[in-house]
Protein backbone atom coordinates (compact mmCIF):
# COMPACT_ATOMS: atom_id res chain seq x y z
CA UNK A 1 0.00 0.00 0.00
CA UNK A 2 2.68 2.38 1.10
CA UNK A 3 4.90 1.61 -1.86
CA UNK A 4 1.96 2.05 -4.18
CA UNK A 5 1.31 5.46 -2.74
CA UNK A 6 4.95 6.48 -3.00
CA UNK A 7 5.02 5.14 -6.51
CA UNK A 8 1.96 7.14 -7.52
CA UNK A 9 3.33 10.20 -5.88
CA UNK A 10 6.62 9.92 -7.73
CA UNK A 11 4.77 9.25 -10.95
CA UNK A 12 2.75 12.46 -10.69
CA UNK A 13 5.86 14.37 -9.71
CA UNK A 14 7.59 13.14 -12.84
CA UNK A 15 4.61 14.10 -14.98
CA UNK A 16 4.51 17.51 -13.35
CA UNK A 17 8.25 17.97 -13.91
CA UNK A 18 8.02 16.93 -17.55
CA UNK A 19 5.11 19.31 -18.17
CA UNK A 20 7.00 22.18 -16.62
CA UNK A 21 10.11 21.46 -18.64
CA UNK A 22 8.24 21.25 -21.93
CA UNK A 23 6.32 24.38 -20.98
CA UNK A 24 9.51 26.23 -20.14
CA UNK A 25 11.08 25.33 -23.47
CA UNK A 26 7.93 26.39 -25.34
CA UNK A 27 7.95 29.64 -23.36
CA UNK A 28 11.52 30.31 -24.42
CA UNK A 29 10.59 29.72 -28.08
CA UNK A 30 7.48 31.88 -27.75
CA UNK A 31 9.30 34.93 -26.47
CA UNK A 32 12.39 34.52 -28.63
CA UNK A 33 10.77 33.78 -31.97
CA UNK A 34 7.22 35.08 -31.72
CA UNK A 35 3.76 33.59 -31.99
CA UNK A 36 4.34 32.26 -35.50
CA UNK A 37 7.11 29.97 -34.33
CA UNK A 38 5.15 28.25 -31.57
CA UNK A 39 1.54 28.28 -32.76
CA UNK A 40 -0.33 27.09 -35.80
CA UNK A 41 -2.20 30.37 -35.91
CA UNK A 42 -2.25 32.46 -39.04
CA UNK A 43 -4.02 35.43 -40.58
CA UNK A 44 -7.08 33.32 -41.36
CA UNK A 45 -7.20 31.72 -37.93
CA UNK A 46 -5.93 34.21 -35.35
CA UNK A 47 -7.30 32.60 -32.14
CA UNK A 48 -6.40 29.09 -31.03
CA UNK A 49 -6.46 27.05 -27.84
CA UNK A 50 -4.70 29.74 -25.83
CA UNK A 51 -7.86 31.79 -26.18
CA UNK A 52 -10.31 28.89 -26.49
CA UNK A 53 -9.03 26.91 -23.56
CA UNK A 54 -6.73 29.01 -21.38
CA UNK A 55 -8.94 32.08 -21.41
CA UNK A 56 -12.51 31.00 -22.16
CA UNK A 57 -12.36 27.82 -20.09
CA UNK A 58 -10.04 29.21 -17.44
CA UNK A 59 -12.35 32.06 -16.55
CA UNK A 60 -15.38 29.77 -16.53
CA UNK A 61 -13.79 27.07 -14.41
CA UNK A 62 -13.01 29.73 -11.82
CA UNK A 63 -16.65 30.79 -11.60
CA UNK A 64 -17.28 28.86 -8.40
CA UNK A 65 -15.84 31.79 -6.46
CA UNK A 66 -18.55 34.26 -7.21
CA UNK A 67 -21.48 31.83 -7.08
CA UNK A 68 -20.52 30.60 -3.64
CA UNK A 69 -19.79 34.06 -2.32
CA UNK A 70 -23.28 35.04 -3.42
CA UNK A 71 -24.84 31.92 -1.94
CA UNK A 72 -23.12 32.02 1.42
CA UNK A 73 -22.74 35.70 2.12
CA UNK A 74 -25.48 37.39 0.19
CA UNK A 75 -28.21 34.78 0.25
CA UNK A 76 -26.90 33.82 3.69
CA UNK A 77 -27.17 30.07 3.16
CA UNK A 78 -24.64 29.18 5.80
CA UNK A 79 -24.50 25.47 5.21
CA UNK A 80 -22.35 26.03 2.12
CA UNK A 81 -19.75 27.89 4.12
CA UNK A 82 -17.20 25.08 4.12
CA UNK A 83 -17.18 25.24 0.31
CA UNK A 84 -16.54 28.94 0.21
CA UNK A 85 -12.82 29.10 0.87
CA UNK A 86 -11.76 26.46 -1.64
CA UNK A 87 -14.01 28.08 -4.23
CA UNK A 88 -12.59 31.56 -3.65
CA UNK A 89 -9.09 30.13 -3.71
CA UNK A 90 -9.67 28.32 -7.02
CA UNK A 91 -11.15 31.47 -8.42
CA UNK A 92 -8.20 33.59 -7.36
CA UNK A 93 -5.64 31.11 -8.65
CA UNK A 94 -7.72 30.63 -11.78
CA UNK A 95 -7.75 34.31 -12.60
CA UNK A 96 -4.05 34.71 -11.93
CA UNK A 97 -3.38 31.83 -14.31
CA UNK A 98 -5.69 33.31 -16.93
CA UNK A 99 -3.75 36.56 -16.81
CA UNK A 100 -0.51 34.59 -16.94
CA UNK A 101 -1.79 32.65 -19.98
CA UNK A 102 -2.85 35.86 -21.65
CA UNK A 103 0.77 37.01 -21.57
CA UNK A 104 1.56 34.18 -23.96
CA UNK A 105 -1.26 34.90 -26.38
CA UNK A 106 -1.04 38.67 -26.53
CA UNK A 107 1.29 39.81 -29.27
CA UNK A 108 2.49 42.58 -26.97
CA UNK A 109 2.19 41.27 -23.41
CA UNK A 110 4.12 44.32 -22.23
CA UNK A 111 1.03 46.34 -23.13
CA UNK A 112 -1.47 44.26 -21.19
CA UNK A 113 -2.29 47.36 -19.15
CA UNK A 114 -3.22 49.48 -22.18
CA UNK A 115 -7.01 49.02 -21.86
CA UNK A 116 -6.83 50.63 -18.43
CA UNK A 117 -5.84 53.96 -19.93
CA UNK A 118 -6.82 53.66 -23.59
CA UNK A 119 -10.56 53.29 -23.65
CA UNK A 120 -13.00 51.91 -26.12
CA UNK A 121 -16.28 51.33 -24.28
CA UNK A 122 -17.86 49.89 -27.43
CA UNK A 123 -15.47 46.96 -27.35
CA UNK A 124 -16.48 43.73 -25.60
CA UNK A 125 -12.80 42.98 -25.16
CA UNK A 126 -12.35 46.27 -23.34
CA UNK A 127 -15.16 45.37 -20.96
CA UNK A 128 -13.76 41.89 -20.35
CA UNK A 129 -10.33 43.38 -19.66
CA UNK A 130 -11.67 45.80 -17.10
CA UNK A 131 -13.95 43.32 -15.37
CA UNK A 132 -11.26 40.68 -15.12
CA UNK A 133 -8.79 43.19 -13.68
CA UNK A 134 -11.25 44.49 -11.12
CA UNK A 135 -12.55 41.06 -10.21
CA UNK A 136 -9.05 39.68 -9.68
CA UNK A 137 -8.50 42.55 -7.25
CA UNK A 138 -11.75 41.68 -5.48
CA UNK A 139 -10.71 38.03 -5.25
CA UNK A 140 -7.36 39.06 -3.86
CA UNK A 141 -9.12 41.03 -1.14
CA UNK A 142 -11.53 38.16 -0.45
CA UNK A 143 -8.69 35.71 -0.23
CA UNK A 144 -6.25 37.67 1.98
CA UNK A 145 -8.22 37.07 5.20
CA UNK A 146 -7.21 33.39 4.94
CA UNK A 147 -3.57 34.48 4.90
CA UNK A 148 -4.03 36.91 7.78
CA UNK A 149 -5.75 34.20 9.83
CA UNK A 150 -2.80 31.99 9.29
CA UNK A 151 -0.49 34.81 10.42
CA UNK A 152 -2.91 35.70 13.24
CA UNK A 153 -3.10 39.37 12.26
CA UNK A 154 -6.41 40.42 13.68
CA UNK A 155 -6.44 44.15 13.07
CA UNK A 156 -6.55 43.97 9.27
CA UNK A 157 -9.14 41.22 9.51
CA UNK A 158 -11.56 43.64 11.14
CA UNK A 159 -10.92 46.11 8.37
CA UNK A 160 -11.65 43.45 5.78
CA UNK A 161 -14.92 42.61 7.47
CA UNK A 162 -15.97 46.23 7.08
CA UNK A 163 -15.51 46.40 3.34
CA UNK A 164 -16.58 42.85 2.71
CA UNK A 165 -20.24 43.42 1.79
CA UNK A 166 -19.75 46.00 -0.97
CA UNK A 167 -16.79 43.97 -2.14
CA UNK A 168 -18.86 40.83 -2.46
CA UNK A 169 -21.62 42.58 -4.33
CA UNK A 170 -19.09 44.13 -6.69
CA UNK A 171 -17.51 40.72 -7.22
CA UNK A 172 -20.79 39.09 -8.14
CA UNK A 173 -21.69 41.86 -10.57
CA UNK A 174 -18.27 41.95 -12.21
CA UNK A 175 -18.42 38.19 -12.66
CA UNK A 176 -21.88 38.28 -14.15
CA UNK A 177 -20.64 40.87 -16.60
CA UNK A 178 -17.49 39.24 -17.82
CA UNK A 179 -18.65 35.64 -17.74
CA UNK A 180 -21.44 36.63 -20.11
CA UNK A 181 -19.23 38.99 -22.10
CA UNK A 182 -16.92 36.18 -23.08
CA UNK A 183 -19.96 34.96 -24.99
CA UNK A 184 -20.68 38.43 -26.35
CA UNK A 185 -17.23 38.41 -27.96
CA UNK A 186 -18.66 36.01 -30.52
CA UNK A 187 -21.80 38.03 -31.19
CA UNK A 188 -19.59 40.10 -33.47
CA UNK A 189 -19.08 37.21 -35.90
CA UNK A 190 -22.50 36.07 -37.17
CA UNK A 191 -20.80 35.53 -40.53
CA UNK A 192 -18.13 33.25 -39.11
CA UNK A 193 -19.47 31.21 -36.20
CA UNK A 194 -21.35 28.12 -37.33
CA UNK A 195 -25.13 28.29 -37.03
CA UNK A 196 -25.08 25.38 -34.58
CA UNK A 197 -23.59 27.75 -32.02
CA UNK A 198 -24.29 31.31 -33.09
CA UNK A 199 -27.15 32.68 -31.06
CA UNK A 200 -27.98 36.08 -29.71
CA UNK A 201 -28.27 34.31 -26.35
CA UNK A 202 -24.56 33.44 -26.27
CA UNK A 203 -23.91 35.78 -23.33
CA UNK A 204 -26.67 34.15 -21.30
CA UNK A 205 -25.45 30.65 -22.15
CA UNK A 206 -21.90 31.55 -21.16
CA UNK A 207 -23.14 32.93 -17.86
CA UNK A 208 -25.32 29.99 -16.86
CA UNK A 209 -22.85 27.34 -17.94
CA UNK A 210 -20.16 29.14 -15.95
CA UNK A 211 -22.30 28.93 -12.80
CA UNK A 212 -22.81 25.22 -13.37
CA UNK A 213 -19.18 24.47 -14.06
CA UNK A 214 -18.12 26.51 -11.03
CA UNK A 215 -20.11 24.12 -8.84
CA UNK A 216 -18.86 21.08 -10.69
CA UNK A 217 -15.31 22.29 -10.05
CA UNK A 218 -16.03 22.55 -6.33
CA UNK A 219 -17.13 18.90 -6.27
CA UNK A 220 -14.08 17.99 -8.34
CA UNK A 221 -11.72 19.74 -5.94
CA UNK A 222 -13.27 18.29 -2.86
CA UNK A 223 -12.69 14.82 -4.27
CA UNK A 224 -9.07 15.53 -5.10
CA UNK A 225 -8.36 17.14 -1.78
CA UNK A 226 -9.85 14.12 -0.03
CA UNK A 227 -7.49 11.90 -2.04
CA UNK A 228 -4.47 14.06 -1.28
CA UNK A 229 -5.02 15.21 2.29
CA UNK A 230 -7.95 13.18 3.54
CA UNK A 231 -9.92 16.40 3.82
CA UNK A 232 -13.13 16.82 1.95
CA UNK A 233 -16.60 18.23 2.14
CA UNK A 234 -19.21 16.29 4.03
CA UNK A 235 -21.45 13.97 2.09
CA UNK A 236 -24.77 15.78 2.71
CA UNK A 237 -23.22 19.08 1.70
CA UNK A 238 -21.84 17.66 -1.53
CA UNK A 239 -25.18 16.03 -2.23
CA UNK A 240 -27.05 19.28 -1.81
CA UNK A 241 -24.50 21.10 -3.97
CA UNK A 242 -25.09 18.42 -6.57
CA UNK A 243 -28.83 18.98 -6.57
CA UNK A 244 -28.34 22.69 -7.12
CA UNK A 245 -25.95 21.81 -9.93
CA UNK A 246 -28.61 19.52 -11.40
CA UNK A 247 -31.11 22.37 -11.45
CA UNK A 248 -28.71 24.90 -12.99
CA UNK A 249 -27.40 22.46 -15.57
CA UNK A 250 -30.89 21.39 -16.63
CA UNK A 251 -31.90 25.04 -17.01
CA UNK A 252 -28.85 25.47 -19.22
CA UNK A 253 -29.61 22.41 -21.33
CA UNK A 254 -33.28 23.36 -21.67
CA UNK A 255 -32.31 26.84 -22.85
CA UNK A 256 -29.81 25.49 -25.36
CA UNK A 257 -32.40 23.11 -26.80
CA UNK A 258 -35.12 25.77 -26.90
CA UNK A 259 -32.69 28.08 -28.69
CA UNK A 260 -31.90 25.47 -31.35
CA UNK A 261 -35.61 24.94 -31.82
CA UNK A 262 -36.25 28.66 -32.01
CA UNK A 263 -33.53 29.17 -34.63
CA UNK A 264 -34.67 26.10 -36.62
CA UNK A 265 -31.12 24.80 -36.33
CA UNK A 266 -31.97 21.13 -35.80
CA UNK A 267 -31.87 20.41 -39.51
CA UNK A 268 -28.15 21.26 -39.49
CA UNK A 269 -27.60 18.07 -37.56
CA UNK A 270 -28.75 16.05 -40.55
CA UNK A 271 -25.55 16.99 -42.36
CA UNK A 272 -22.63 14.79 -41.57
CA UNK A 273 -19.99 17.37 -40.88
CA UNK A 274 -17.26 17.42 -38.27
CA UNK A 275 -19.21 20.26 -36.65
CA UNK A 276 -22.22 17.98 -36.21
CA UNK A 277 -20.23 15.31 -34.42
CA UNK A 278 -18.50 17.71 -32.10
CA UNK A 279 -21.80 19.40 -31.40
CA UNK A 280 -23.37 16.05 -30.50
CA UNK A 281 -20.41 15.27 -28.26
CA UNK A 282 -20.97 18.56 -26.47
CA UNK A 283 -24.69 17.94 -26.19
CA UNK A 284 -24.06 14.48 -24.79
CA UNK A 285 -21.56 15.75 -22.24
CA UNK A 286 -23.83 18.50 -20.97
CA UNK A 287 -26.97 16.32 -20.91
CA UNK A 288 -25.71 12.98 -19.60
CA UNK A 289 -24.68 14.22 -16.15
CA UNK A 290 -28.30 15.25 -15.59
CA UNK A 291 -29.33 11.60 -15.74
CA UNK A 292 -26.83 10.99 -12.94
CA UNK A 293 -27.33 14.11 -10.86
CA UNK A 294 -31.07 13.68 -10.57
CA UNK A 295 -30.63 10.33 -8.79
CA UNK A 296 -30.32 10.63 -5.03
CA UNK A 297 -28.21 7.47 -5.07
CA UNK A 298 -25.60 9.12 -7.28
CA UNK A 299 -25.57 12.31 -5.26
CA UNK A 300 -24.75 10.31 -2.13
CA UNK A 301 -21.96 8.36 -3.78
CA UNK A 302 -18.82 10.51 -3.90
CA UNK A 303 -17.28 8.56 -6.77
CA UNK A 304 -20.37 8.68 -8.99
CA UNK A 305 -20.80 12.34 -8.14
CA UNK A 306 -17.20 12.96 -9.10
CA UNK A 307 -17.81 11.45 -12.52
CA UNK A 308 -20.95 13.48 -13.04
CA UNK A 309 -19.05 16.65 -12.13
CA UNK A 310 -16.25 15.67 -14.48
CA UNK A 311 -18.74 15.30 -17.32
CA UNK A 312 -20.16 18.75 -16.65
CA UNK A 313 -16.61 20.11 -16.76
CA UNK A 314 -15.76 18.35 -20.01
CA UNK A 315 -19.07 19.39 -21.55
CA UNK A 316 -18.23 22.96 -20.67
CA UNK A 317 -14.75 22.72 -22.16
CA UNK A 318 -16.11 21.14 -25.33
CA UNK A 319 -18.61 23.96 -25.67
CA UNK A 320 -15.98 26.67 -25.35
CA UNK A 321 -13.63 24.97 -27.79
CA UNK A 322 -16.48 24.34 -30.22
CA UNK A 323 -17.35 28.01 -30.22
CA UNK A 324 -13.82 29.31 -30.47
CA UNK A 325 -12.29 26.68 -32.76
CA UNK A 326 -14.68 24.15 -34.36
CA UNK A 327 -17.37 26.66 -35.16
CA UNK A 328 -14.98 29.16 -36.73
CA UNK A 329 -12.81 26.84 -38.81
CA UNK A 330 -15.07 26.41 -41.83
CA UNK A 331 -15.58 30.13 -42.34
CA UNK A 332 -11.86 30.76 -41.99
CA UNK A 333 -11.12 28.31 -44.78
CA UNK A 334 -8.18 26.71 -43.01
CA UNK A 335 -7.95 23.85 -40.57
CA UNK A 336 -6.33 24.43 -37.25
CA UNK A 337 -4.63 21.85 -35.09
CA UNK A 338 -2.60 23.28 -32.23
CA UNK A 339 1.17 22.92 -32.41
CA UNK A 340 2.88 20.90 -29.67
CA UNK A 341 4.20 24.09 -28.14
CA UNK A 342 0.68 25.47 -27.75
CA UNK A 343 -0.38 22.28 -26.00
CA UNK A 344 2.77 22.28 -23.88
CA UNK A 345 2.14 25.79 -22.57
CA UNK A 346 -1.50 25.00 -21.84
CA UNK A 347 -0.68 21.75 -20.03
CA UNK A 348 2.08 23.44 -18.04
CA UNK A 349 -0.38 26.10 -16.94
CA UNK A 350 -2.88 23.45 -15.85
CA UNK A 351 -0.08 21.72 -13.99
CA UNK A 352 0.90 24.95 -12.25
CA UNK A 353 -2.76 25.41 -11.31
CA UNK A 354 -2.92 21.98 -9.67
CA UNK A 355 0.39 22.57 -7.93
CA UNK A 356 -0.58 25.97 -6.54
CA UNK A 357 -3.92 24.68 -5.32
CA UNK A 358 -2.18 21.82 -3.59
CA UNK A 359 0.29 24.12 -1.88
CA UNK A 360 -2.43 26.47 -0.73
CA UNK A 361 -4.72 23.67 0.42
CA UNK A 362 -1.84 22.27 2.41
CA UNK A 363 -0.60 25.43 4.08
CA UNK A 364 -3.61 27.68 4.40
CA UNK A 365 -6.86 27.11 6.30
CA UNK A 366 -8.84 26.23 3.18
CA UNK A 367 -10.91 23.13 3.78
CA UNK A 368 -11.98 23.84 7.33
CA UNK A 369 -10.34 21.39 9.61
CA UNK A 370 -12.36 19.33 12.03
CA UNK A 371 -11.64 20.17 15.66
CA UNK A 372 -10.93 17.01 17.63
CA UNK A 373 -10.54 17.40 21.41
CA UNK A 374 -10.04 21.12 21.03
CA UNK A 375 -6.92 20.45 19.00
CA UNK A 376 -6.42 21.58 15.44
CA UNK A 377 -6.13 18.50 13.34
CA UNK A 378 -3.35 18.63 10.81
CA UNK A 379 -3.44 16.26 7.88
CA UNK A 380 -0.56 14.30 9.35
CA UNK A 381 -2.35 13.91 12.65
CA UNK A 382 -5.52 12.96 10.86
CA UNK A 383 -3.71 10.22 9.05
CA UNK A 384 -2.20 9.05 12.31
CA UNK A 385 -5.66 9.04 13.90
CA UNK A 386 -7.00 6.97 11.05
CA UNK A 387 -4.23 4.45 11.30
CA UNK A 388 -4.76 4.11 15.02
Amino acid sequence: MNTLRTYRFTFWRAVFGALLLAGAYATYLRFMYGLGAVTNLNDQFPWGIWIGFDILCGVGLAAGGFTLVATVHIFNIEKYKPVLRPAVLTAFLGYLLVIFALMFDLGRPDRIWHPLIMWNPRSVMFEVGWCVTLYTTVLFLEFTPAVFEKLRWHAPLRWFRMISVPLMIAGVILSTLHQSSLGSLFLLVPHKLDKLWYSSFLPLFFFISAIAVGMAMTIFESWHSSKAFGRQLEGPLLASLASVLAVVQSTYVAMRLADLQHRHAWSLLAESRIETWLFLLELGLITLPLALLFQARVRKNPRALYWAALMVIFGFITNRLNISVTGIERASGVSYVPKWTEVAVTLAIIGIGFGLFRLAAKHLPIFEEPDVHGEKVTPAKLRALRVA
Partner: protein, 248 residues
Protein backbone atom coordinates in the same frame (compact mmCIF):
# COMPACT_ATOMS: atom_id res chain seq x y z
CA UNK B 1 -16.69 64.50 -47.66
CA UNK B 2 -15.50 60.90 -47.52
CA UNK B 3 -13.05 59.08 -49.75
CA UNK B 4 -13.77 55.76 -51.37
CA UNK B 5 -12.21 53.32 -53.81
CA UNK B 6 -14.12 51.74 -56.66
CA UNK B 7 -12.69 48.49 -57.90
CA UNK B 8 -14.14 47.11 -61.14
CA UNK B 9 -13.08 43.50 -61.53
CA UNK B 10 -14.33 43.42 -65.14
CA UNK B 11 -11.61 45.90 -66.04
CA UNK B 12 -8.83 44.21 -64.05
CA UNK B 13 -6.26 42.49 -66.27
CA UNK B 14 -4.22 41.06 -63.38
CA UNK B 15 -1.08 43.11 -64.05
CA UNK B 16 -0.46 43.49 -60.28
CA UNK B 17 0.72 47.09 -60.63
CA UNK B 18 -1.42 47.95 -57.58
CA UNK B 19 0.37 45.29 -55.55
CA UNK B 20 3.82 46.58 -56.30
CA UNK B 21 2.81 50.22 -55.83
CA UNK B 22 1.34 49.30 -52.44
CA UNK B 23 4.47 47.39 -51.45
CA UNK B 24 6.58 50.36 -52.47
CA UNK B 25 4.51 52.79 -50.45
CA UNK B 26 4.73 50.65 -47.28
CA UNK B 27 8.40 49.79 -48.02
CA UNK B 28 7.41 46.12 -48.05
CA UNK B 29 9.49 43.61 -50.01
CA UNK B 30 8.09 42.70 -53.42
CA UNK B 31 9.29 40.14 -55.93
CA UNK B 32 7.87 37.41 -58.16
CA UNK B 33 7.49 35.02 -55.29
CA UNK B 34 5.48 37.51 -53.23
CA UNK B 35 3.48 38.44 -56.34
CA UNK B 36 2.41 34.80 -56.63
CA UNK B 37 1.17 34.59 -53.04
CA UNK B 38 -2.32 35.91 -53.75
CA UNK B 39 -3.29 36.37 -50.15
CA UNK B 40 -3.13 39.20 -47.68
CA UNK B 41 -0.31 39.07 -45.19
CA UNK B 42 1.81 41.38 -43.09
CA UNK B 43 3.95 42.15 -46.15
CA UNK B 44 1.11 42.24 -48.67
CA UNK B 45 -1.66 44.66 -47.80
CA UNK B 46 -3.47 44.25 -51.08
CA UNK B 47 -3.42 41.39 -53.49
CA UNK B 48 -4.78 40.46 -56.87
CA UNK B 49 -6.60 37.13 -56.79
CA UNK B 50 -7.06 34.98 -59.87
CA UNK B 51 -10.55 33.49 -60.11
CA UNK B 52 -10.55 31.32 -63.22
CA UNK B 53 -10.30 33.77 -66.12
CA UNK B 54 -11.15 36.71 -63.88
CA UNK B 55 -9.11 38.85 -61.58
CA UNK B 56 -10.17 40.55 -58.42
CA UNK B 57 -8.54 42.46 -55.60
CA UNK B 58 -8.45 41.97 -51.88
CA UNK B 59 -7.85 44.75 -49.41
CA UNK B 60 -9.37 46.29 -46.31
CA UNK B 61 -12.88 47.42 -47.30
CA UNK B 62 -12.83 50.43 -44.95
CA UNK B 63 -16.28 49.61 -43.62
CA UNK B 64 -18.64 52.41 -42.72
CA UNK B 65 -19.35 50.55 -39.47
CA UNK B 66 -16.12 48.62 -39.03
CA UNK B 67 -16.21 45.50 -36.87
CA UNK B 68 -12.49 45.89 -36.20
CA UNK B 69 -12.92 49.38 -34.74
CA UNK B 70 -15.64 48.25 -32.36
CA UNK B 71 -13.61 45.15 -31.43
CA UNK B 72 -10.36 46.85 -30.50
CA UNK B 73 -10.15 47.18 -26.70
CA UNK B 74 -7.64 50.03 -26.84
CA UNK B 75 -9.01 52.05 -29.74
CA UNK B 76 -5.98 51.37 -31.92
CA UNK B 77 -8.28 51.19 -34.93
CA UNK B 78 -10.33 54.23 -35.87
CA UNK B 79 -12.74 55.14 -38.63
CA UNK B 80 -11.69 58.59 -39.79
CA UNK B 81 -14.15 61.20 -40.99
CA UNK B 82 -12.24 61.15 -44.28
CA UNK B 83 -13.24 57.53 -44.86
CA UNK B 84 -10.15 55.37 -44.22
CA UNK B 85 -9.98 53.07 -41.21
CA UNK B 86 -6.58 53.64 -39.68
CA UNK B 87 -4.38 51.77 -37.20
CA UNK B 88 -2.17 53.15 -34.47
CA UNK B 89 0.50 50.58 -33.73
CA UNK B 90 1.62 52.29 -30.51
CA UNK B 91 -1.67 51.44 -28.82
CA UNK B 92 -2.11 47.86 -30.07
CA UNK B 93 -1.63 45.09 -27.51
CA UNK B 94 -1.95 42.30 -30.02
CA UNK B 95 -5.15 40.61 -28.84
CA UNK B 96 -6.13 40.00 -32.48
CA UNK B 97 -9.84 40.42 -31.83
CA UNK B 98 -9.89 42.75 -34.86
CA UNK B 99 -8.76 39.85 -37.02
CA UNK B 100 -11.42 37.55 -35.65
CA UNK B 101 -14.02 40.27 -36.12
CA UNK B 102 -13.30 41.38 -39.69
CA UNK B 103 -15.55 39.77 -42.29
CA UNK B 104 -12.99 40.32 -45.05
CA UNK B 105 -9.89 38.91 -43.39
CA UNK B 106 -8.22 42.26 -43.87
CA UNK B 107 -6.09 42.78 -40.76
CA UNK B 108 -3.00 40.58 -40.80
CA UNK B 109 -0.34 40.02 -38.17
CA UNK B 110 3.43 40.01 -38.01
CA UNK B 111 3.44 36.46 -36.68
CA UNK B 112 7.19 36.09 -36.52
CA UNK B 113 8.12 39.40 -34.98
CA UNK B 114 9.13 39.75 -31.35
CA UNK B 115 7.14 42.99 -31.11
CA UNK B 116 4.46 42.32 -33.71
CA UNK B 117 1.99 44.77 -35.23
CA UNK B 118 -1.26 44.39 -37.08
CA UNK B 119 -0.93 45.37 -40.73
CA UNK B 120 -3.65 46.61 -42.99
CA UNK B 121 -4.38 49.06 -45.79
CA UNK B 122 -4.99 52.64 -44.67
CA UNK B 123 -6.41 53.73 -48.05
CA UNK B 124 -3.41 56.02 -48.39
CA UNK B 125 -4.99 58.52 -46.05
CA UNK B 126 -1.83 60.65 -46.14
CA UNK B 127 -1.95 60.84 -49.95
CA UNK B 128 -5.67 61.40 -50.18
CA UNK B 129 -5.68 64.25 -47.67
CA UNK B 130 -2.86 65.78 -49.72
CA UNK B 131 -5.14 65.62 -52.73
CA UNK B 132 -3.39 62.67 -54.38
CA UNK B 133 -5.06 59.41 -55.42
CA UNK B 134 -4.18 56.19 -53.56
CA UNK B 135 -0.99 54.47 -54.68
CA UNK B 136 -2.97 51.58 -56.16
CA UNK B 137 -5.25 53.91 -58.13
CA UNK B 138 -2.28 55.79 -59.51
CA UNK B 139 -0.65 52.55 -60.59
CA UNK B 140 -3.69 50.99 -62.26
CA UNK B 141 -3.28 51.23 -66.06
CA UNK B 142 -6.85 50.29 -66.83
CA UNK B 143 -9.07 52.29 -64.44
CA UNK B 144 -10.03 49.07 -62.70
CA UNK B 145 -9.22 50.87 -59.47
CA UNK B 146 -10.35 54.48 -59.15
CA UNK B 147 -10.82 56.65 -56.11
CA UNK B 148 -12.60 59.80 -55.04
CA UNK B 149 -15.70 60.90 -53.15
CA UNK B 150 -17.90 57.95 -52.12
CA UNK B 151 -20.95 59.57 -53.74
CA UNK B 152 -19.01 60.15 -56.95
CA UNK B 153 -17.78 56.55 -56.94
CA UNK B 154 -21.33 55.24 -56.50
CA UNK B 155 -22.46 57.46 -59.39
CA UNK B 156 -19.61 56.18 -61.56
CA UNK B 157 -20.44 52.57 -60.70
CA UNK B 158 -24.09 53.11 -61.56
CA UNK B 159 -23.07 54.69 -64.83
CA UNK B 160 -20.94 51.69 -65.75
CA UNK B 161 -23.72 49.27 -64.78
CA UNK B 162 -26.14 51.18 -66.98
CA UNK B 163 -23.87 51.74 -69.97
CA UNK B 164 -22.77 48.14 -70.46
CA UNK B 165 -25.37 46.13 -68.54
CA UNK B 166 -24.26 42.82 -70.09
CA UNK B 167 -20.74 43.15 -68.73
CA UNK B 168 -21.92 43.31 -65.12
CA UNK B 169 -23.69 41.49 -62.41
CA UNK B 170 -26.19 44.26 -61.68
CA UNK B 171 -25.20 45.21 -58.17
CA UNK B 172 -22.65 47.38 -56.40
CA UNK B 173 -20.90 45.52 -53.58
CA UNK B 174 -20.39 47.66 -50.51
CA UNK B 175 -23.50 49.81 -50.62
CA UNK B 176 -25.02 48.11 -47.61
CA UNK B 177 -22.99 44.99 -46.78
CA UNK B 178 -22.68 44.96 -42.99
CA UNK B 179 -23.54 48.62 -42.96
CA UNK B 180 -21.66 49.52 -46.14
CA UNK B 181 -18.02 49.98 -47.08
CA UNK B 182 -15.75 52.67 -48.47
CA UNK B 183 -14.32 50.23 -51.00
CA UNK B 184 -16.97 49.46 -53.61
CA UNK B 185 -16.72 46.63 -56.07
CA UNK B 186 -18.19 45.67 -59.41
CA UNK B 187 -18.11 42.24 -60.97
CA UNK B 188 -19.42 40.29 -63.95
CA UNK B 189 -20.49 37.42 -61.71
CA UNK B 190 -22.20 37.20 -58.30
CA UNK B 191 -19.76 38.50 -55.71
CA UNK B 192 -19.26 35.29 -53.77
CA UNK B 193 -17.66 33.91 -56.93
CA UNK B 194 -14.91 36.49 -56.62
CA UNK B 195 -14.42 35.70 -52.96
CA UNK B 196 -16.55 38.34 -51.26
CA UNK B 197 -18.71 37.18 -48.35
CA UNK B 198 -22.36 36.97 -49.36
CA UNK B 199 -23.72 36.09 -45.93
CA UNK B 200 -23.31 39.47 -44.29
CA UNK B 201 -26.24 41.13 -42.56
CA UNK B 202 -27.37 44.57 -43.77
CA UNK B 203 -26.81 45.92 -40.32
CA UNK B 204 -23.33 46.89 -39.16
CA UNK B 205 -21.64 44.12 -37.17
CA UNK B 206 -20.91 46.35 -34.16
CA UNK B 207 -24.67 46.53 -33.56
CA UNK B 208 -24.64 42.84 -32.66
CA UNK B 209 -22.30 43.29 -29.72
CA UNK B 210 -23.71 46.66 -28.78
CA UNK B 211 -27.11 45.11 -28.09
CA UNK B 212 -25.42 43.10 -25.33
CA UNK B 213 -23.06 45.86 -24.15
CA UNK B 214 -25.80 48.44 -23.75
CA UNK B 215 -27.43 46.26 -21.08
CA UNK B 216 -24.44 46.69 -18.77
CA UNK B 217 -25.58 49.83 -16.94
CA UNK B 218 -28.86 48.10 -16.17
CA UNK B 219 -27.19 44.91 -14.99
CA UNK B 220 -24.96 46.98 -12.71
CA UNK B 221 -27.69 49.16 -11.22
CA UNK B 222 -30.44 46.57 -10.94
CA UNK B 223 -27.94 43.94 -9.82
CA UNK B 224 -26.52 46.11 -7.05
CA UNK B 225 -29.94 47.00 -5.70
CA UNK B 226 -31.12 43.41 -5.93
CA UNK B 227 -28.08 41.87 -4.26
CA UNK B 228 -28.01 44.61 -1.62
CA UNK B 229 -31.69 43.98 -0.95
CA UNK B 230 -31.27 40.24 -0.69
CA UNK B 231 -28.33 40.72 1.65
CA UNK B 232 -30.31 43.06 3.86
CA UNK B 233 -33.33 40.76 4.01
CA UNK B 234 -31.44 37.54 4.71
CA UNK B 235 -29.24 39.10 7.37
CA UNK B 236 -32.10 41.02 8.92
CA UNK B 237 -33.94 37.73 9.34
CA UNK B 238 -30.91 36.32 11.09
CA UNK B 239 -30.70 39.29 13.44
CA UNK B 240 -34.36 38.99 14.28
CA UNK B 241 -33.90 35.32 15.07
CA UNK B 242 -30.91 36.16 17.26
CA UNK B 243 -32.74 38.92 19.10
CA UNK B 244 -35.78 36.76 19.73
CA UNK B 245 -33.55 33.98 20.94
CA UNK B 246 -32.08 36.34 23.52
CA UNK B 247 -35.47 37.57 24.71
CA UNK B 248 -37.01 34.20 25.29
Amino acid sequence: MAFAILFDSTKCVGCRSCESACAEKWKNPYDDKIAAEERLSAHKLTTVVTKGDKFTRKLCMHCLEPACVSACPVGALQKTAAGPVIYEAEKCMGCRYCMTACAYGAPTYEWNARAPKVRKCNMCIERQTAGKPTACTEACPNEATVCGEREAMIALAKKRLAETPDAYYQKIYGLDEAGGTSVLMLSSVPFEQIGLPANLPKEGLPDFTWRALELIPNIVSVGTVLLGGVYWITHRRQEVVKAEGRLS
